[in-house]
């Protein structure tokens, strides 16, 4: 038997009027907004870095949501968003053959050169 318990607290908004928590209508709706990945440039000259993800109906809303969710404390001067479905990731199962062979190839690090003192910012 499926009994749905309804909670009402004084001053609270009944669940059917709020978003997100009622599986019957709102949960499905929330899921229909695609997921976006957010990249933030913290200051001029630096790279955009992945900051997290969020839901939004379109790119314009995703940028604004990113502004509201991720730059409230002056974290950024520029934002990129991309729909998560367009991100292609390496397969964790491939980790051994992808990454471990690099472990014993120390000669690929530029640590075997003597840098002249005149060279700065290295």
């Amino acid at each position: 038997m499926n009994i749905q318990v309804k909670k009402f607290y004084y001053g609270d908004i009944p669940e059917e009027n709020t978003g997100g928590t009622n599986p019957e209508n709102n949960y499905a709706q929330e899921n229909s907004w695609p997921l976006w990945e957010v990249f933030i440039r913290s200051k001029q000259g630096l790279d955009h870095k992945h900051a997290g993800s969020l839901h939004a109906a379109d790119a314009a809303m995703a940028i604004e949501n990113a502004r509201d969710v991720y730059t409230r404390r002056q974290e950024g001067v520029s934002l990129w968003v991309v729909e998560s479905k367009y991100i292609h990731a390496s397969n964790p199962d491939d980790a051994e053959m992808f990454y471990e062979p690099a472990a014993d190839k120390v000669y690929r690090h530029p640590t075997f050169y003597d840098l002249p003192d005149e060279v700065k910012h290295m």
Partner: protein, 263 residues
């Protein structure tokens, strides 16, 4: 010689009409921002989705920040001219309904999301014009607060107008809700442009620009602009709807029950 002119207790100089006007103007701006902030704050943790919950409460914080700046300035003006000891808190928490000069639209209940975002749009599009005028005001303090607030308000206009378009030109239900919201709120927009006797900005001159902005967004949202509607007014001069008393009761109860309480 005896006159009816009120006298500044500390300096002995007469309080000019201009000072009173400036105080009322500043309080009007402060009250309007505070009451809308208080209303929008009711969405906190009840937004339709996490990201929009944060968006509306960010706007709330912007508005309350603006209110604080205006109250602080109003308190300085009052204390200088009337030998009182007002603070931003006493102005927000210890005045009664009739002393509040906020626009009526700010005190209306939030309704659904459509009504909330539509109100934000109608108000922010107006506030943007007022702040632009104030930014060039000869009063340096008001000009500085306006310049700071304007950047926030420009974002409020962008955010809320996109929601009006999204819902107006969205599904049958979102469109119906937006039309209902217009029916509810439109009559409270006339007051924007009726100048109060203290207003430094010639608000009646802003009407055409505001109307063009609203019309262009409504057109994009495929919504009709109401015509020949009865318009409510009174908020600017302290004549309010029944809703303001409830807001003040909730907002002020702590300071009135435990005067000077801090946390």
């Amino acid at each position: 010689m005896k006159t009816n002119q009120p006298i500044n207790q500390s300096t002995g100089s007469p309080i000019t009409l201009l000072t009173n006007q400036l105080i009322n103007q500043t309080l009007h701006l402060a009250d309007t921002a505070l009451i809308l902030g208080q209303r929008n704050g009711e969405w906190c943790a009840h937004g339709p989705i996490l990201e929009q919950d944060i968006a509306i409460t960010n706007i709330t914080l912007d508005l309350i920040g603006q209110a604080r700046n205006f109250y602080q300035y109003a308190a300085t003006l009052i204390n200088a001219s009337e030998n009182k000891n007002e603070t931003e808190d006493s102005l927000a928490y210890l005045r009664n309904e009739r002393e509040f000069k906020n626009l009526l639209i700010c005190e209306l209940p939030n309704g659904d999301w459509a009504q909330t975002v539509l109100r934000q749009f109608l108000f922010s599009a107006y506030q943007e014009l007022v702040l632009e005028k104030l930014k060039n005001s000869s009063n340096e303090q008001l000009a500085a607060i306006a310049a700071k607030s304007l950047k926030e308000t420009q974002y409020h206009v962008k955010w809320s107008s996109e929601w009006v378009i999204r819902l107006g030109d969205g599904t049958t239900e979102s469109r119906d809700r937006m039309i209902k919201a217009i029916d509810t709120l439109w009559m409270y927009t006339g007051e924007f442009f009726i100048p109060a006797n203290y207003e430094l900005t010639e608000v009646h001159l802003l009407k055409e620009t505001w109307f063009q902005k609203v019309r262009s967004i409504f057109e994009e949202a495929t919504l009709a602009v109401p015509e020949n509607t009865f318009m409510q007014s009174g908020g600017k001069s302290g004549i309010h709807s029944e809703h303001l008393g409830f807001i003040l009761a909730e907002m002020q109860i702590l300071q009135r029950t435990y005067p000077g309480a801090e946390w």
